[in-house]
Symmetry: C2
Subunit: 215 residues, 2 copies
Amino acid sequence: MDKDKIDKKDHILDVAERVFSDMGFDGASTRMISGEAGVNMAMLNYYFGSKEGLFLAVFDRKISSFQDLLHNLGIDDTISSWAKVESYIDIYSNRVVNNNCFQKLLYQEMSINRRTDLSDKIHAMLMTSVLELYKMLQEGIDNGEFKADSDLQMVVATIYGTKNFMINTPLLASSMLGYDILDEKIIEEKLKPRLKKYLKTLLKSYLLNDNEHTN
Amino acid sequence: MDKDKIDKKDHILDVAERVFSDMGFDGASTRMISGEAGVNMAMLNYYFGSKEGLFLAVFDRKISSFQDLLHNLGIDDTISSWAKVESYIDIYSNRVVNNNCFQKLLYQEMSINRRTDLSDKIHAMLMTSVLELYKMLQEGIDNGEFKADSDLQMVVATIYGTKNFMINTPLLASSMLGYDILDEKIIEEKLKPRLKKYLKTLLKSYLLNDNEHTN
DNA sequence: CAAAATTAATCAATCGTTTGATTAATTTAA
DNA sequence: TTAAATTAATCAAACGATTGATTAATTTTG
């Protein structure tokens, strides 16, 4: 039925998302994806037109939820700028970990220099997220909550970069942290809270004016 | 002669390094590399055995200088732990920027889940660098210079992650920072000093005990 | 039945690699 | 020193395999 068709397309997208992020766009073959998804190879083209179409479909499926996240942030004007940043870190850390294979895919393609039409799309998507965070930080400076000489753009780079280091190089991060950060349970119980606590402590002492140190 | 042969192999490696980091391992074809290098396609196999052999040769050429960097660090016991970290940031920021295309290649391959023999090699190489920095930080805690509850592994992730964000997604970083960080001159005059200053300020307030705030 | 979904078979193109032949450089032999 | 023998470097051409994509036939569905 219609339901089954949507489910099947969604199933293909699930598999494609994982295979793409594991092997990269070029490393992932359509036979591999269709094989793991348990569908005929021609179905990929039937549904998505082409390999690149499938790739784009994986992205399109995520974009909406991506923008939902951003919309609900920065709305509440009753809380302090630092509280906003803290909640951004919370939400972002949660997302990151639950969508790690998509996140990986995202930055993997951003680091390739060709396929400009696609990377433009990714670029725009990421910039929306980046600017939202930046705006939040700038507000903190404007209202005197944050140090005026804070390098906000670098702060953004640190939040995204620290997260990416975990997501994009999980093997390296695992042997560094001493536990397998690909394990779902460990992610939930250890990595998430640790990442949140660390980023908050790190940025608090960097951003906040000294007279604001009221914990 | 012998000189020319070495130069030619080196020239191929130069080109391969750039093409690989631009297109990824799978995206870069041997025809493309040999074409840009201006040599016959068969020469790649003649010199390096295979595409993967060429890829490994690109790495091998860099490893030695990578380890030289680490060796000269942490030797001087007369300076404080924080001074060591500062000089690590300096050296690392310099390297990073000058070898950005290799650095990109490095982390690009680390984010792919297959080719385990190769990624093992990269993994080992990076871990050496990571552990050296970590040891340095741990010393700072042991001698009471750094806060005892500092999350050192996360600090490593921040240093590497912030740098990677610049190197691996230069387009995103450029439109965020407002200038083209692929431009050699801008890298030297703006990105380098900015990255150094930021990382030092950020980590200083996070790592150092308050009674050490003498600067 | 007609439309949509699914399949197996096939397509041209490109992949990394290998081949046999040719040229250039070096070494050996007389 | 010269000629012969050997080695190294380079090339165009072709290899089999795999790629993404398409076709035409078949099955399923409404």
